[in-house]
Assembly symmetry: C2
Homo-oligomer: 398 residues x 2
């Protein structure tokens, strides 16, 4: 029975209090006095901490604060510096690359997307194009990134920045972070090449974006479909990553144990009913359609009965798999995100029917199944915003 | 973007350091100098903290410490006080009641079990018997409990101490903690009636016992079968309880979506294949056998083919449901606990086959499926040990 951790220290206290003050300012413009009142710190302590944050380019003054109604000189309002450290995000898709810059407030300052068939291209070629795009958005935004994060369509292992498996790209054991640095140098972005580079699964980042920007509760399950089907499980405000970093593989949860063979080697996995290829096949369309989500949405909206039936069948399978997830994890909400968000209109009725019939041993409310407003923008937003959130969470780090 | 929490304070630091020092002593006898070396605290600070812990009856001196090899007077070894605050656990089963006392070191000092048919008895009658048993073990142990925790076979809600649903007892919305206090007073245990009383689901407590006493990794999934099938999901050392406290309901994960009707209202739930009634039925035995786990184990050991087949079929269904859990949660280990532990010999081969065939998109090693040594003792141990662990985690609380 051992409790871990080091002794509390004055240095640790100051670092924690820097984060506390910055968190209050991030929640909305405030005077020093308001920050003091809300944190319980003394006015003098707040002033000293704010000076340090301002020197680090994190906090700026923005005219007079909201009048307090009290007599005396109104304090100036403190805000997050709009020209402070930024978040640089990249996204490797099967059929596209994208990059964006968000400022310290989480606002998008640049966003570029390029259609590229990355399937079966070498990692070197893909990373060279991504480096170029990252340099472009960074130059255009004119801010200084604090770090880079890249969303990838595959399993990311415990080893830093390594994609263990991305079958839809044909990648296995690719060291993305290590490969991106020289690519950035070759693209003339030497400044970016020295930054911390993080890699994460697109479904995880989509779920985190939903948590940070989508106004979701502290515990929810975010489903997304891009090349594969993934889930991000947010529990008590944190992403559940699993013992080896592979949590959230909803696509290979068994839906019908004797169902069709799955390329993964198992049978009857959710992807055999609700994945890109399965839905296209059920709808009578060829596989590898450009923008399969958009294509299915257009056809369903136009009244294509085969497409609507295929999506309803996918919704049934999603409902069965999600019943298992709800029983195991008890999320406050289940959010249909990524490509599924655009197909919600045709997936939801069947999903709702399954959940209503099957989730019976606990309370279940139809309203707890919702659709993401971020949709397919989620993973890239999550990548970039994660960088600035790390700065906000620990502004005292070197 | 708001960071929660109050400012760090001197008082909070002392409280954290009390826990840090006590944690080192709990991990094994140590001199004051060793505690100082391991925690990074000064020798003087350690002495002052130890004095406070000794005054609270938590720490005792136990002869000379292990010789350090250095010249000088050997320090005395500090140990957890064997007569310090104790943990008092209770268990309400469908066919039994039990209670135990563990000391601060987690060692069992008293353990009593009584066969009682609690099914459809009133909560008042059950709680009166439980109060009597709690008084008996507490008197016999002669220690002062710091609190009481009770394991119950049902869903425990977010409201403190309320069993929302225990279908196997015929209970719904029973305020166990509130009912136990007057029952303890009527049993003449006025001292116990004033203690904090916690209630938790038996599967959760069995999983926590496995975490604390079973030497498991920080993230694992513990399966148990008593009246129903439950799972405890331990993630990063903490029990995943879910947004409404209902996580771990493995028994109602769909195994075959068109399978037999379940009393819960759904179809093809795991309990229809691997629950008590399903296995007894498949084995050709009448329902409601006294000690169904022991009976099945005896018959299987004696070579009863029908029982062995029934257990293999249950193992197949468990393997399918656990595949879903492994894909979603990525535990480092899956532990067969509770009643399943005694049936492992006949459940495991089929479970292993399913997991080997179905868990393919991530690493899976046969050795990650293990059997609990605590078995059916887990929930009561977890209840009592949880009380003393709360004391150890925050010895500075009032």
């Amino acid at each position: 029975m051992q409790v871990r951790g080091g002794p509390a220290s004055q240095q640790g206290m100051r670092r924690a209090n820097l984060a506390l003050v910055l968190g209050e300012i991030a929640a909305g413009p405030k005077s020093r006095a308001e920050v003091a009142a809300r944190t319980g710190l003394t006015r003098a302590a707040v002033s000293s901490l704010v000076d340090e944050l301002a020197a680090g380019g994190l906090v700026a003054e923005s005219g007079p604060a909201v009048p307090s109604g009290k007599v005396g000189r109104p304090g100036t309002a403190l805000v997050l510096a709009p020209d402070g450290p930024a978040g640089l995000g990249g996204e490797i898709g099967v059929e596209h690359l994208a990059a964006c810059v968000v400022d310290l407030r989480g606002e998008v300052r640049e966003w570029r997307r390029r259609d590229v068939r990355n399937r079966d291209r070498t990692p070197e070629a893909v990373l060279a194009d991504l480096a170029e795009l990252l340099r472009e958005v960074s130059d255009a935004a004119g801010l200084t990134p604090a770090g880079i994060a890249v969303a990838v369509p595959g399993l990311v292992g415990a080893a830093e920045g390594v994609v263990v498996r991305a079958p839809n790209l044909g990648w296995s054991e690719v060291a993305v972070a290590a490969g991106l640095r020289p690519a950035l140098r070759r693209a003339g972005a030497t400044g970016l090449a020295g930054l911390p580079i993080g890699i994460d699964n697109e479904a995880n980042l989509g779920g985190l974006a939903e948590h940070w920007l989508g106004g979701r509760p502290d515990s929810f399950c975010h489903l997304s479909a891009e090349a594969g089907i993934g889930a991000a499980l947010v529990v008590d405000g944190r992403l559940l990553r699993g013992a080896r970093g592979f949590a959230g593989e909803l696509g290979h949860v068994p839906v019908r144990p004797d169902g069709p063979d799955c390329p993964c080697g198992a049978r009857g996995c959710l992807e055999q009913y609700a994945g890109e290829q399965a839905v296209l096949r059920a709808a009578g369309l060829p596989g590898f359609v450009d923008d399969w989500v958009g294509e299915l949405a257009r056809r369903a909206r136009a009244g294509d009965a085969a497409v609507r039936e295929a999506l309803a069948a996918a919704g049934t399978a999603l409902g069965i798999a999600v019943t298992g997830a709800v029983n195991l994890i008890d999320p406050a909400e289940v959010v249909l995100g990524g490509g599924y968000a655009e197909l919600g209109e045709w997936l939801l009725p069947a999903m709702r029917d399954e959940l209503a019939a099957r989730v019976t041993v606990r309370p279940w409310d139809d309203g707890w199944l919702t659709v993401s407003e971020l949709g397919r923008r989620g993973p890239l937003l999550g990548a970039a915003v994660g960088v600035v959130r790390a700065v906000l969470a620990d502004p005292g780090q070197d």
